[in-house]
């Protein structure tokens, strides 16, 4: 019987450490500047003035993986790009998440041939798949909202 059940939700007083850490992580999740193909243009539209990703704490698209928490794979991943993608994912500091934006990243999309990795989940573990070719900026923001819900649900035992 946590204190929260007894005393009811008293905001900051009954705040669990998990909630505090997850709140900090979701409200300042910096994506890595990693545009591959057409979805990158829609990601830029999402970042620009009309759809404005900065409202969700994603003001900066960090260029280097060392300073980013979220990797948005925006575009089709070719066989030549797969090892580079894996290396970039490994070089990201630890609480990291992956959004596979667009059909080509999620399942190869319209390109079912020798050159494209059929789904980025063969290269990196993916948290959220965003459908669309290219997905509208609102669809990408919806994907980010879904990821935030997922991160808010994480517990301390996941981080052990």
């Amino acid at each position: 019987m946590g204190i929260e059940q007894k005393a009811g939700n008293m905001g900051a007083v009954t705040l669990k450490l998990e909630q505090a850490v997850n709140w900090a992580r979701t409200n300042a999740m910096w994506p890595m500047l990693f545009g591959l193909a057409c979805c990158a243009i829609e990601m830029m539209s999402a970042q620009a003035s009309d759809y404005d990703l900065s409202r969700f704490g994603m003001e900066l698209m960090r260029a280097s993986p060392r300073q980013s928490d979220l990797m948005i794979v925006a575009g089709r991943v070719s066989r030549k790009m797969a090892p580079v993608l894996r290396r970039l994912y490994d070089q990201m500091p630890d609480p990291k998440w992956v959004i596979s934006m667009g059909d080509c990243a999620s399942c190869g999309g319209v390109f079912n041939n020798y050159a494209i990795v059929q789904g980025v989940d063969e290269v990196v573990p993916v948290d959220v798949y965003v459908a669309g070719c290219p997905p509208r900026p609102e669809a990408l923001i919806h994907g980010i909202m879904t990821l935030h819900e997922k991160v808010r649900g994480e517990q301390i035992k996941d981080w052990a």
Binding site: R79, K80, N112, A115, V123, P125
Partner: protein
């Protein structure tokens, strides 16, 4: 057919015994592989075809006789004329002299044709793969190269494909 183009094709026919064919008012010259550098140099210097728009190959796979056709798309800026020069090549790994000395932009075109079709270019300054990874086997755009089609996961065959799919561990 434009007068200037008429003169150009006439001259090439006499000097290099090429044939001329026309389809929908587009002229194409068929020339032997070893003469391609002289033909293009003549076309460039004497007849003003100073721009190599593009260069590609076509694979007629079951037919071995001319298995490949090298297609050079020439364009003349002053006369605003287009001319296609085709070169038939036999066998599975043909080779012909490079065109880099005449048109420098042929460098990457030829690297791409080597990468995609396996047509070797003698005298090319830097014949490496340009589009595929460096250690890739096979030449993808050949007709006998499989498309690399992966079976699509529907509900009925989801499980056995899912077992085979190489998911990335953490």
């Amino acid at each position: 057919m434009d007068a200037h183009l008429q003169a150009a094709t006439q001259a090439i026919q006499e000097r290099f015994a090429g044939q001329v064919s026309e389809f929908r008012d587009q002229i194409s010259l068929i020339v032997a592989p070893q003469q391609i550098v002289e033909v293009c140099r003549a076309l460039k210097d004497d007849f003003g075809f100073d721009m190599l728009s593009g260069e590609t190959a076509v694979d007629y796979w079951p037919a071995q006789e001319p298995r490949f056709h090298l297609v050079y798309l020439l364009y003349s800026l002053q006369h605003n004329l287009r001319l296609t020069v085709r070169v038939p090549l036999n066998g599975n790994s043909p080779s012909l002299p490079t065109l880099e000395s005449v048109y420098p932009s042929a460098n990457w075109h030829e690297r791409e044709i080597w990468d995609m079709f396996g047509v070797r270019f003698e005298g090319h300054s830097d014949l490496r793969r340009i589009l595929m990874p460096a250690d890739w086997e096979g030449h993808p755009l050949r007709k006998d190269y499989p498309l690399g089609y992966e079976e699509v996961q529907f509900s009925f065959n989801y499980d056995e494909i899912d077992a085979r799919k190489p998911y990335a561990k953490e």
